[in-house]
């Protein structure tokens, strides 16, 4: 059947099984919008800013594992989407972003609303395409979804000139695809797996460090079996939370800059490090010269370029993490070698000693609302089962520390790019994917204002998100660094002239609540959770002076953490026997 490019576009989405496309119309995308109007299979979600569209699709993708889809117009539509594309790129999230483009014959003429979308997005996409001929449209869309979702996932941009959406051709959507220039390795090298199994079972002070790759690769279940079989300690990165159940005794908490004392100390002292789907980010490793000085390292990752990039690795295994972990388990069982029980018991004794420092304490007697307390209470009231999105700052770290994620794809945050403004729109994507689930957006009064306009989208589609605004009247994380490293010169980090968030929420048709006393926190959260049909904006007026602890300052090692005023301070750089 002959169809226009715009109709082909919609049919492709349908055939890809796209449930929602997040977007915003404009001149170059109008044929496509007309085609969207004339069908009811693919639901279009109209955001209020293109950044919101990309974050919403991103949240949808993180929560479901399915690719997110976005449509924006040319020029400013495309540039507004760039922050969201870069956010997805840094966290390896599968997105397909369609940008309208001026007609092919005008490209290069500085036409109205023309930007080189392919050029602008090139450094922050896995791949991108400009479709110059309607005959290539269906195949290009097929390739885009294939590339976005396979190997190490990532965003793909497809730029479609307006005339291509009007031209007509035969529609035929390919079932399968293979590309000679793109064939990601999926199965781990068996000889490497064997070597790794031998090293892993020979460890005396083992440590398992896992990242976002475990979540993206749907490997949480096999990881859990792997960790429990060995009885080794496991830590997650900020992106990897939920990859291993946080309430399990073998879990030692998050690692890195604001990781737990026990996780970071165990990193420093371990003799074998098993890194799974993690990329040795600088916020995780601290000073590379002081990183895991005693460890022999096994690194499992789908992306060969992630291996050996920052830290030399003894046994690299390239492959799908789920498959490799299963292979490793098989090899370990087949070898019949058991870890040294005595050494492991001594290691755990040491770890428990570190854990007993209780590095995540805070002042519970305070008359001011402690942000940690709000998150702890949210955790208790939701049985740890909510979807939690966050923005960027102190609140993000507290959410990561105090909400214990037992399941993957529940913790949704911008770890790589650290994009303020991510929280609310990503929560929209999650709530659309799981209409009956409790979705909480933990945010700060600075971050929330970066995409506050999406409150309107939430109203239009009836998304009952719970916005937990930890309002400390400061860009808290900036203020903390200024307190620590700039002699308390709080340069432009005070959030002056804040809106009345209650009235603001109400003006969008939502429920607003202001909470100023610790005693009201639980009641307010209960009430919000019970309000299942409305968005509730909870404005918690929190202690302005609270800092995130523990902290491994930039350029320090894992053993050089600073503990908070509530923890007993002991020397942290003693050597193990």
């Amino acid at each position: 059947m002959e169809l226009t490019g715009a109709d082909i576009f919609v049919r492709c989405l349908e055939d890809e099984g796209v449930e929602y496309i997040f977007g915003y119309p404009g001149g170059a995308a109008l044929h496509i919008y007309d085609a969207l109007y004339r069908q009811d299979k693919v639901k279009h979600i109209l955001v209020r800013h293109e950044q919101g569209a990309t974050h919403a699709a991103d949240g949808y993708a993180r929560a479901t594992g399915k690719p997110g889809a976005v449509i924006v117009t040319s020029g400013p539509g495309a540039t507004n989407a760039v922050t969201g594309i870069a956010t997805a790129y840094m966290d390896s999230i599968p997105l397909v972003v369609f940008t309208g483009q001026v007609p092919t014959m005008l490209i290069g003429d500085d036409a109205f609303q023309e930007v080189d979308a392919v050029g602008i997005t090139r450094p922050c996409v896995k791949h991108n395409f400009l479709v110059k001929d309607v005959k290539d449209l269906a195949m290009t869309i097929k390739k885009a979804f294939y590339i976005a979702t396979t190997g190490r996932p990532g965003p793909v941009v497809v730029d479609i000139p307006k005339d291509v959406t009007a031209d007509i051709t035969e529609y035929d959507y390919p079932d399968a695809i293979s590309m000679r220039s793109y064939a990601p390795v999926t199965k781990g090298h068996q000889a490497q797996v064997k070597k790794a199994a031998a090293l892993i079972t020979s460890a005396k002070r083992p440590m398992i460090y896992t990242g976002g790759g475990v979540i993206l690769g749907n490997a949480a279940e096999s990881l859990t079996e792997f960790v429990r079989t060995l009885g080794y300690p496991c830590t997650n990165t900020l992106m990897g939370l939920g990859g291993y159940p946080a309430t399990d005794p073998l879990f030692v908490g998050m690692l890195g800059m604001h990781g737990t004392y026990e996780a970071n100390m165990a990193m420093h002292e371990c003799d074998v490090l098993i890194a799974v789907g993690a990329r040795f980010d600088d916020r995780v490793t601290g000073d590379l010269n002081k990183f895991c000085p005693h460890a022999r390292i096994v690194h499992i990752d789908i992306d060969p370029a992630s291996i050996g990039k920052n830290v030399p690795v003894e046994i690299p295994i390239v492959g799908n993490v789920d498959g490799v972990i299963k292979d490793l388990l098989k090899a370990i069982r087949a070898s019949k070698k058991k870890p040294d029980a005595e050494a492991l018991a001594a290691w755990w004794e040491q770890i428990e000693e570190w854990r007993a420092m209780n590095c995540l304490t805070f002042d519970r007697a305070s008359e001011l609302i402690k942000p940690q307390y709000v998150i702890e209470t949210l955790y208790k009231l939701t049985d740890g089962d909510a979807f939690v999105t966050s923005d960027v700052g102190q609140h993000q770290m507290w959410a990561a520390q105090f909400y214990k994620f037992d399941k993957p794809r529940r913790w949704i945050n911008s770890g790589g790019l650290g994009t303020m403004g991510f929280g609310l729109p990503s929560a929209m994507g999650v709530q659309l994917a799981y209409p009956d689930a409790l979705v909480a957006c933990i945010t700060g009064e600075a971050s929330i204002q970066m995409c506050i306009q999406e409150l309107s989208t939430c109203k239009q589609y009836g998304l009952p998100i719970k916005v937990i605004n930890l309002n400390n009247r400061y860009m808290g994380m900036v203020r903390q660094w200024q307190e620590f490293f700039y002699d308390r010169r709080y340069s432009h980090s005070y959030m002056d002239a804040l809106p009345d968030f209650i009235k603001l929420a109400e003006s969008y048709g939502h429920v607003g609540m202001k909470i100023e006393k610790p005693g009201d926190v639980e009641g307010a959260l209960k009430e919000a959770i019970a309000t299942t049909d409305r968005l509730v904006f909870l404005d918690f007026i929190t202690d302005q002076t609270e800092n995130v602890y523990p902290m491994m300052p930039a350029g320090k090692g894992h053993h050089e953490m600073e503990l908070g005023p509530c923890s007993q301070v002991v020397s942290t750089n003693r050597e193990l026997a």
């Binding site: 392919v118 991108n128 590339i147 000679r180 220039s181 060969p304 370029a305 050996g308």
Partner: protein, 163 residues
């Protein structure tokens, strides 16, 4: 260490800018870069000369391989290979200098491909180092124009970089 990386690339708009963009975004060196279509018009052959420590070169090849447009890649410097670069050089040539220049060109097995009353245009092919040596030998003040093609290379033996 200097490495010569040979790449088969999809002959698509934008493929070249992906490679160039990768090098600038990640702060890698490019000494030279040449690219042209092959006998198969859907493929281009690119030769890239770069330098860096072993770990940087490893990252460069891995990152290049990650580009969706890169079909195949080989680091020629890892095995026996032949390297060639062409230079066209325009120099002032008047009076006694004309003979002297002619001799120098012969020593380097170059050719004079254009002549005026006051200048020679010289063509010379060889490995990058030979070209460098030739340029060194030329009196600097006489050089009017230098055009280097950039290095291209091929592995020795009967095997080829192909699909």
């Amino acid at each position: 260490m200097r490495h010569i990386i040979s790449i088969l690339l999809e002959n698509e708009a934008g493929a070249l800018s992906r490679v160039a963009g990768l090098f600038s975004a990640r702060g890698y060196n490019i000494e030279s870069l040449t690219v042209a279509p092959t006998e198969d018009e859907t493929l281009s052959r690119m030769t890239l000369v770069t330098s860096g420590s072993e770990s940087i070169i490893e990252q460069i090849t891995k990152q290049l391989n990650k580009l969706v447009d890169v079909v195949k890649l080989v680091d020629l410097t890892e095995g026996p290979h032949i390297e060639r670069e062409m230079i066209m050089l325009k120099v002032q040539a008047v009076g006694d200098a004309r003979d002297e220049l002619k001799r120098l060109v012969d020593i380097f097995r170059g050719r004079i491909i254009d002549v005026t009353e006051s200048s020679y245009t010289i063509e010379l092919t060889g490995a990058g180092r030979k070209i460098d040596a030739f340029l060194q030998a030329m009196p600097r003040k006489d050089i009017i124009e230098v055009v280097r093609s950039g290095v291209s290379g091929i592995g020795r033996g009967d095997k080829g970089l192909r699909l």
